[in-house]
């Protein structure tokens, strides 16, 4: 793909000069199994407990491993732990995998797990959510560890997928005992270097330029049937959308994680480009201020129209998710009525149904609710695509039934700040579940927001509150019987629909673009696991 034929006659000195400069570049052949990967963001750090953001996870997940892993179908399988049990409600026991070595050659033992638990529970850690309910870790013998719980957590195993194990000896030797502390202006060793047990090792790290990973020849799972043939990965951040696509087209990179939506159709037509699509474990939804007695941004004075179920139903009848799919998302979404995506623990098909698009019905409901001439309202959304375009489209759909909607598009850094102040009447947001359990979503989005005191309703910026919902969620948190728990989750999802607590829109579909010679395995958390990739 990199050969280059000289077709034109160098007439000017300039042209031949350029030609001389260029010909050599194309000969710097890259070894066949080096994957040059590009995405718009660079990882913030290599520290496995310092940041819980996707760009960081995408590199950490290649280097560090967890007690549990997920297979190609994203089912939980043994990772650094061979098996686990739950002898009593306060204890989880893990039998560790023997003969595992860190990249520096030191052996993996129970001490490393105990140390990593402490480190991930450190106040500066951003990964505390990976150990919800865990009080401490106790070494039983070299290859047995107990996690002692302070609160029961039925989905601990799901959470643990995000908890990564570091070498105690290495961290001690390099003074990286705690995750990075920004206040102290320190630059820790572990944020620039890494020493995990995973399939790839860090060879070079140049922030914002490139990160080079090489395959770990001593990986314990090297014989896995899922293993591909990538020997080296160059992770390249390319901020500009156009440049990233150009680099893929010109063969300077082999894989683009985040091609811009508008280029996907074009990329699919290219002879040597493949686009593989998978659904993101994330739901975009609309939510309403259901707390105030008068909306902040509306023509209605003295009352809050969104407190009336009929108005929320009218909104649901007015928004055409399949039109948004076609026009805005260019086919890259799955319309749904469920607040959690398919594949999540507790999900059932029947919660997926949306209210039908029916403008007459919407108008009738508005009239019934006392708004025969409709009303005006502002719809807030982040500037990130496709959110901004979705808001534009939804606003015109709502205006057709009389809810005269003005989209207000806000830069991301300001958007969350605005929502956290509850400075909104109507907004679009998305929620992803990293644990693949519905509880994450339910407790954050639907539980009553109790201010800063507790953790419930952290993303319930419309302050929806229904004691029945809170009761169900409270039970889900402690129910250890998975069958009963799934029924409870189902109840909560159905209640979200009948109440229109939030109005789910769709599940986005993520396109990955690559050269034809690359075979990628899609994962719903939008993290590419390079060890499963193949090149030929």
């Amino acid at each position: 793909m990199m050969n280059f034929v000289f077709k034109f006659h160098p007439r000017a000195v300039f042209a031949s000069l350029i030609a001389c400069l260029c010909s050599a570049m194309l000969c710097t052949a890259v070894s066949a199994n080096t994957l040059r990967y590009a995405s718009q963001d660079d990882p913030q750090t290599l520290d496995p407990h310092a940041a819980n953001l996707l760009p960081t996870t995408r590199v950490i997940a290649q280097i560090y491993e967890s007690l549990v892993a997920r297979d190609q179908q994203f089912k939980i399988v043994p990772g650094l732990a061979l098996w686990w049990s739950n002898p009593d409600s306060k204890t989880w026991r893990f039998k560790l995998r023997p003969n595992v070595k860190f990249h520096d050659g030191s052996p993996f033992t129970a001490d490393d797990v105990v140390f990593s638990v402490e480190r991930a529970l450190h106040p500066q850690s951003q990964l505390k959510a990976s150990l919800v309910g865990v009080a401490t870790a106790k070494k039983i013998d070299d290859f047995t560890v107990d996690l002692i719980m302070k609160d029961p957590n039925p989905i601990l195993i799901n959470n643990l997928f995000l908890f990564r194990v570091m070498s105690k000896i290495w961290a001690t030797k390099n003074g990286a005992l705690a995750p990075q502390n920004y206040k102290a202006s320190e630059d820790t060793f572990a944020s620039r270097n890494a020493n995990g047990t995973g399939p790839f090792m860090v060879k070079l790290r140049q922030p914002d330029v490139k990160t080079v990973l090489v395959a770990n020849p001593n990986w314990w799972n090297i014989a896995s049937t899922e293993k591909g043939n990538i020997t080296q990965v160059e992770m390249l951040p390319i901020k500009s959308n156009a440049t990233r696509v150009a680099a893929l087209l010109s063969g300077e990179v082999d894989f683009v994680l985040d091609p811009p939506q508008q280029d996907v159709a074009r990329l699919k037509k290219e002879a040597n480009i493949r686009v593989s699509e998978g659904s993101d474990a994330r739901i975009q939804y609309f939510a309403f201020d259901q707390f105030r007695d008068e909306l902040l941004y509306s023509s209605v004075k003295g009352k809050n129209p969104f407190k009336d179920l009929r108005v929320r139903q009218a909104v649901a009848h007015a928004i055409d998710a399949s039109a948004i799919r076609q026009v805005v998302m260019r086919g890259l979404s799955i319309p749904t009525g469920s607040l959690v995506p398919e594949g999540t623990q507790g999900y059932t098909k029947d919660v997926e149904k949306r209210l039908p698009v029916d403008r007459e019905k919407a108008k009738a409901l508005l009239t019934e609710a006392g708004y025969p001439t409709g009303f005006s309202v502002t719809l807030d959304c982040g500037i990130n695509q496709p959110a901004a375009d979705i808001c534009q489209a939804a606003a015109s759909m709502l205006s057709q039934v009389g809810i005269r909607t003005t989209p207000n598009i806000v830069p991301l850094a300001n958007y969350f700040q605005k929502l956290q102040r509850f400075d909104t009447s109507f907004y679009l947001l998305s929620w992803g579940t990293s644990t693949f359990d519905a509880l994450d979503t339910l407790q954050a989005v639907l539980e009553k927001n109790r201010g800063e005191q507790t953790t419930g309703g952290d993303s319930n910026y419309g302050r929806y509150s229904n004691p029945k919902m809170d009761d169900i969620i409270g039970k889900i948190k402690v129910e250890m019987d998975m069958k009963k728990r799934n029924l409870l989750i189902h109840d909560a999802l159905v209640l979200n629909q009948t109440d229109i607590a939030t109005l789910p829109l769709h599940q986005p579909v993520i396109p990955w673009a690559m050269r034809k010679n690359v075979t990628a395995v899609f994962t719903p958390n939008n993290v590419p696991y390079f060890f499963r990739f193949k090149m030929n």
């Binding site: 630059d187 010109s250 991301l412 953790t455």
Partner: protein, 326 residues
């Protein structure tokens, strides 16, 4: 002269203080870095905690005072996005930006000035008209568009030049240079042309206008009357006087090229200070933004100073006056 320089240096400190004060008063509007540092799934409690650790719960003038106090001790804080000392990040990125900006400025001078002279002397020729029309494109086309066009032609269609990055760099002490490797030079071509497009057209039009003006002056007529050759008139007398304003503009342009390389660096993923800054803005990375703006303020002030000194050398009339800014 020395007093003048010292006075200007003191002024530069004031400028930097003012720049950073204005910057800090604006940071309230760039948003909340915490919203981007933590996952959207983080709890309210977590956010408050991080905000407190970073001192972001303080009013801006307190944050500013802390910044100045630390800056005086040479500590510009730590990047919220990359978790590394800001001063170190800027030192790492400075060579990339300076190499790009000086190459672009060199292109501007080496191509722009000769073309300006040519179009002034051959006013009626069709090549001059073509060049002048073409220069309008350079003045009016936005940088990023030129960059994307160049990428499309030379990287995607022809496959001659890389579309992004800086190629391989050689480390010379603290300075990383792309001038010594082939891939580094190749990577420089497209960004330098993109960034240099505007200065080329600017210098060309400027030199042309100045030259035409000077050629009408009396001493040129006298020179001709003395029977000097055309070349002696044009290059010995006219050009020298043309260059005085060019020096000013060139100096300011170099500052501008360093400061506004942001767009070009973003298009080409050029790992310079501009790219660092634009990413800092998107992340509301306050320490990086503050330090960058101070540095740019300093660069502008020192370039202005150098221009003043050059004026002093070029223009003998100034030497008799009291030294002062222009």
């Amino acid at each position: 002269m020395l007093a003048f320089i010292i006075r200007r240096l003191l002024q530069s400190i004031l400028v930097m203080l003012a720049v950073s004060f204005i910057a800090f008063s604006l940071f309230n509007f760039t948003g909340d870095p915490v919203a981007l540092m933590l996952p959207p799934e983080a709890t309210q409690l977590d956010r408050e905690e991080v905000r407190k650790t970073l001192g972001l719960d303080q009013p801006f003038y307190v944050q500013f005072a802390v910044f100045v106090q630390n800056a005086l001790q040479g500590n510009f804080g730590i990047s919220l996005r990359l978790g590394r000392p800001v001063s170190q990040l800027l030192i790492e990125r400075l060579p990339a930006t300076l190499e790009l900006a000086t190459t672009a400025a060199a292109l501007g001078l080496l191509i722009g000035i000769p073309l300006g002279i040519y179009t002034a002397l051959k006013r009626e020729s069709w090549t001059s008209n073509l060049l002048l029309t073409g220069s309008l494109i350079g003045v009016s086309l936005p940088n990023f568009l030129i960059g994307i066009f160049l990428i499309l032609i030379f990287a995607v269609w022809l496959g001659w030049l890389p579309s992004f990055g800086r190629g391989e760099v050689t480390q010379l002490g603290l300075w990383s240079t792309g001038f010594l490797t082939e891939s580094g030079l190749k990577a420089l071509v497209l960004p330098a042309i993109t960034l240099g497009f505007y200065p080329v057209t600017l210098f060309m039009r400027l030199v042309r206008a100045q030259m035409l003006e000077v050629l009408r002056a009396d001493y040129i007529k006298f020179a001709r009357a003395r029977g000097l050759t055309n070349n002696a008139v044009y290059f010995g007398h006219a050009l020298k006087n043309t260059l005085v304003p060019v020096i000013t503009i060139a100096g300011l342009q170099l500052g501008g090229l360093i400061a506004f390389a942001i767009i070009t660096e973003t298009v080409f993923q050029w790992p310079g200070m501009g790219l660092l800054f634009i990413q800092a803005v998107q992340f509301a990375d306050i320490p990086v933004m503050a330090a960058y703006l101070c540095l740019i303020g300093f660069i502008f002030v020192s370039i202005n100073l150098m221009v003043d000194v050059l004026y002093y050398i070029v223009d003998p009339r100034l030497r008799t006056d009291r030294a002062g800014g222009h």
